[in-house]
Subunit: 338 residues, 2 copies
């Protein structure tokens, strides 16, 4: 049987989730794609760390070793920060690899350039996992909202911040204790600055803006606030008034201008995000025909984000197949059944 050869870049929470899911869902992947998905290599940072990876797989700290693999089909990138990811992915595209990425910071900065390069080299990029973990918001906006004109998007886009705010309210904990717990549970990055300062939500908001509106506001014009000003007293006072603190990223079209903000605000019971708690993310889309649609689900954690990457793995591969064999998927059990 033909194989789809995959390399995973990064073996943190998300990378490991991708690895485990490819193995646990081997049967489903083969059924949908008509080929076996094989992890050929994993790029790691620290050679000393013990990992549970099959011995048949190339484990390396040198990206060039991965690039040198023959017939590599897809790079699944789950690293943080812009570099070296951007450089790696450019090289991979030029070698003809499809890309699936979960790296929001890199993609917010360089997504446009990567998409252009991908078009030039006739490969595809899946970036569902860059925004809101397992919630299929990118493909919903791209595939399912083609005629609706989007007016406004608002979202709880950072699971760590929402988890901290929820813990502080529900368990009357301090910010520091709640943050520690988020890190222990693997929600927060080792360096949580991007989460609690709002940068992570900002990057995701810019990615959504490009999909929904075809453009972004000037980054410098976006009001950016994190959750570090929150205190137990503020949370308790709000609760006495029936309000909850939520960290909300929003972007709205006003005339010809896009106005974006990432802010810590209090919301009442009638707000669509009042009951979005813990690591949950939620996105509300306001558009002209359908009105208001909300998607809610897990925004962080090993498997939700891995799920988005695995679904993207199918997505980029199907797009490739489409060009080769036409649309009809003979191996899709869903299509076959109906």
């Amino acid at each position: 049987m033909d194989e789809i050869k995959v390399a995973i870049l990064g073996f943190g929470t998300v990378g490991e989730g991708v690895y485990k899911t490819i193995r646990s869902h081997e049967r489903e992947l083969t059924a949908v794609l008509g080929k076996k998905v094989v992890v050929a290599a994993v790029l790691i940072k620290n050679k000393e760390k013990k990992r549970n990876i099959s011995e048949k797989i190339l484990i390396t700290t040198d990206f060039n070793e991965i690039l040198a693999l023959p017939n590599l089909d897809i790079i699944m990138e789950a690293i943080v920060e812009k570099e070296p990811s951007f450089t790696f992915l450019k090289k991979a595209i030029k070698k003809g690899c499809h890309i699936v990425t979960a790296n929001k910071e890199m993609f917010a900065h360089h997504g446009k350039e990567l998409m252009k390069l991908a078009k030039e080299y006739n490969v595809k990029i899946g970036f569902e996992a860059t925004v809101a973990g397992g919630i299929p918001i990118i493909q919903t906006l791209q595939q399912l909202f083609k005629i609706n004109r989007v007016h406004e998007i608002q979202g709880i886009l950072n699971g760590t911040s929402n988890f901290i705010l929820t813990e502080m309210r529900e368990k009357k904990q301090s910010f520091a204790t709640a943050l520690n717990l988020a890190q222990e549970k693997g929600y927060a990055e080792l360096d949580p600055t991007n989460d609690v300062e709002g940068n992570d939500a900002f990057f995701k908001l810019m990615i959504l803006s490009r999909i929904a509106f075809g453009e972004e506001p000037d980054w410098n014009d976006v009001d950016l606030e994190g959750i570090t000003s929150i205190t137990s007293e503020l949370v308790e006072n709000a609760e006495r008034l029936g309000l909850r603190y939520k960290h909300i990223a929003s972007i709205v079209r006003k005339g010809n201008k896009l106005v974006g903000s990432v802010k810590l605000i209090t919301v009442g019971k009638l707000h669509p995000f009042y009951q979005v708690e813990g690591v949950e993310n939620a996105i509300n889309i306001q558009s002209d025909i359908v009105g208001s649609i909300t998607l809610q689900g897990p925004g962080a954690g090993m498997f939700p984000t891995a799920s988005a990457m695995i679904e993207d793995l199918v997505f980029v591969n199907e797009k490739q197949n489409l060009q080769k064999v036409g649309y009809e998927k003979t191996n899709d059990p869903i299509t076959a059944v109906i």
Copy 2:
């Protein structure tokens, strides 16, 4: 410029919404499809009723006149009940027309047969509008959840019932008054039996079951309850306990068996549907990798359902184009921008 020639069957709330939206979003449709969408005919029931339809369009009570139109591309069906819709659509498919339908009763009964026939005649069927109005739940399940194994789906699938329950609680109205208001607002069908007896939610649940699980439970084994047993007293007593009545359709895989039910139950504040109010619909999907995802939005009304049909119009047409010209869509502004 090439045209896409459309006939609309039925000019009730949904049919009229489709007609208006094709006209109001002509520019977007042309941009995405590369062709102008033209309404060539409308099938009506009552010739005497005054309607605001352009004089250039064939308005008829005779489906055969529509079938006789040359080069008809797509049938947009927005009638109720199984017949004559099923017969009409079979004929249209055999003539090579794509189908977009909002008719849940017909599709729950005959969807399988229509899909088989469509495959035979190489046309496509869009049925997003059959479930949950404007919420893109069908395509989310079909396109975006290919590897996730769904365990359970639960939903508030009938906007009219949810509207009635909300009105009764919020405005302390009787069942009859709330039902009248739902009819005035165009949410309920003229004959509301299917809404308030739970049949409408049941049909939608069976359509979802086929997509999510590839099969349906035996219809006779599904517990089916409507909302007609509700009284103002019950609603008030529940509210005193912090509970709300919700009409919830659910289907869960237990071993090799699918267990379905449509029931009026009380839910507490922590239930994902506690705050789903008015004509809102919501669907919660539990699957193995991503966990729990909820989609919420307008489940009834002129434009939400029309929105689903218009997005399907693009969808079936793109599928057709794919077979002709390969995947790359040169006219998609979203793809072009990124």
